[in-house]
């Protein structure tokens, strides 16, 4: 829209607003607001999908499908505050669908990929502090946990990732997976036991 000089116009960027306001404007068709939300959530959704599927291409498909569906369905979202949970829910269900399709067509089974091969990244970052021995230790820890995650049933893996890596609430996870909160707690406990056992074997 072309603004003229009649009134001073203050344009506040989406990152200066609270998320609910940005979501409300995206619901009313504001593309800048939507683009900001895509930037905020694409990394989170990608990390969830990558750890669910262990495949970059499929994880990117989940991110794209989820955010395109988000744009289409945004006007129907009744509680703008629930936006984050709603996105996680759509992404989780797409990951579970992808895994279901894989189990029907087993030829698409993935080679277990370590983080380095699949993501093209190396462990450095603040947690290694430039110490190569610590970096190697972190790399081993990550590979061990990633390999153990692969052995969990899909819904347990989803419970564990949503709770432990993404910090989502029990109530939200329960509604995402259409089970009770008690079931979520049970699955999480079982996921932790299995992960702890697998990681001990890995060492």
């Amino acid at each position: 829209m072309q603004m003229d000089r009649r009134e001073p116009v203050v344009v506040i960027r989406p990152d200066e607003l609270d998320e609910t306001t940005v979501v409300a404007r995206a619901q009313d068709g504001d593309l800048d607001a939507f683009e900001y939300l895509v930037g905020e959530y694409q990394g989170k959704l990608f990390r969830l999908a990558f750890r669910m599927l262990n495949d970059r291409g499929e994880a990117e498909d989940v991110v794209q499908d989820t955010l395109v569906a988000c744009w289409r369905k945004l006007p129907l979202l009744t509680h703008a505050q629930a936006f984050g949970g709603w996105l996680y829910q759509m992404a989780t269900n797409r990951c579970l669908d992808t895994l279901r399709r894989r189990s029907i067509h087993p030829e698409t089974i993935q080679e277990p990929a370590t983080l380095e091969e699949s993501a093209g990244c190396t462990v450095s970052g603040p947690e290694a502090g430039g110490d190569p021995a610590r970096a190697a230790e972190i790399s081993l820890e990550l590979d061990g946990l990633a390999a153990a995650l692969e052995t969990l049933p899909p819904t347990q893996r989803a419970c564990w990732l949503l709770r432990e890596i993404h910090g989502r609430s029990y109530a939200e996870i329960a509604s995402t997976l259409k089970v009770s909160e008690q079931t979520v707690r049970g699955r999480l406990a079982r996921a932790r036991i299995q992960l702890a056992e697998k990681m001990s074997q890995w060492r």
Partner: protein, 196 residues
């Protein structure tokens, strides 16, 4: 499913959740003596450490982001399916009708509201508040007014009547200046408070 709901227990009777939630604390008297608890604590502590590592690492790792082509594809689809809301006929001359999209007017209103401290404009509906032009072919060049329904959040501590008054004035000014119409009714709903 009952089986799914159970929190598994160690042979000594302690639930895994009890062990897990106290993993950062020193072992209690039972845990010091119980082999099963000691083993469980050791392996869960290792998992807890690895979990923390993954949480920190994945978030920081630039390799764990989708390629920029993904965002480009999402945004070009969104642009192709852009929602402009209703088209509002605002002016009629002999040569035809001038219409403005509801979304364009909302953008003007948001910008106007953003200039006011303590106010954040959220969902916005705009309706022409005059009989439909199509039903009323009468004299041309007749400018109509608008009704605005706006939901807002205000900063905690804001005196709402005054904020709403200034917001009304601001919206009226913006619509007059940018759309060339009178804002008739401006309904404001304060739906939320936010912390500054």
């Amino acid at each position: 499913m009952a089986l799914d709901d159970n929190i598994p227990r160690l042979g000594c009777g302690r639930s895994i959740d009890e062990v897990w939630t106290t993993i950062d604390q020193p072992p209690n008297a039972h845990e010091q003596d119980c082999d099963q608890c000691r083993t469980a604590r050791a392996s869960l502590a290792q998992l807890s450490e690895a979990t923390r590592t993954m949480r920190g690492h994945d978030e920081e790792d630039p390799g764990l982001q989708p390629r920029s082509a993904v965002k480009d594809a999402i945004m070009s689809l969104a642009r192709a399916e852009v929602r402009r809301g209703n088209r509002i006929p605002i002016h009629q001359v002999e040569q035809g009708v001038i219409e403005v999209s509801e979304q364009a007017i909302s953008t003007v209103i948001w910008f106007g509201a953003d200039a006011l401290p303590g106010v954040r404009a959220r969902r916005c509906r705009v309706h022409p508040d005059y009989p439909d032009i199509a039903d009323n072919p009468g004299p041309p060049a007749r400018t109509a007014g608008l009704t605005v329904d706006l939901r807002i959040a205000v900063a905690t501590g804001t005196y709402i009547p005054e904020a709403a008054h200034r917001l009304r004035q601001r919206i009226t000014g913006m619509i007059t200046a940018h759309v060339g119409l009178n804002a008739g009714t401006i309904n404001i709903v304060v739906e939320d408070l936010y912390d500054v």
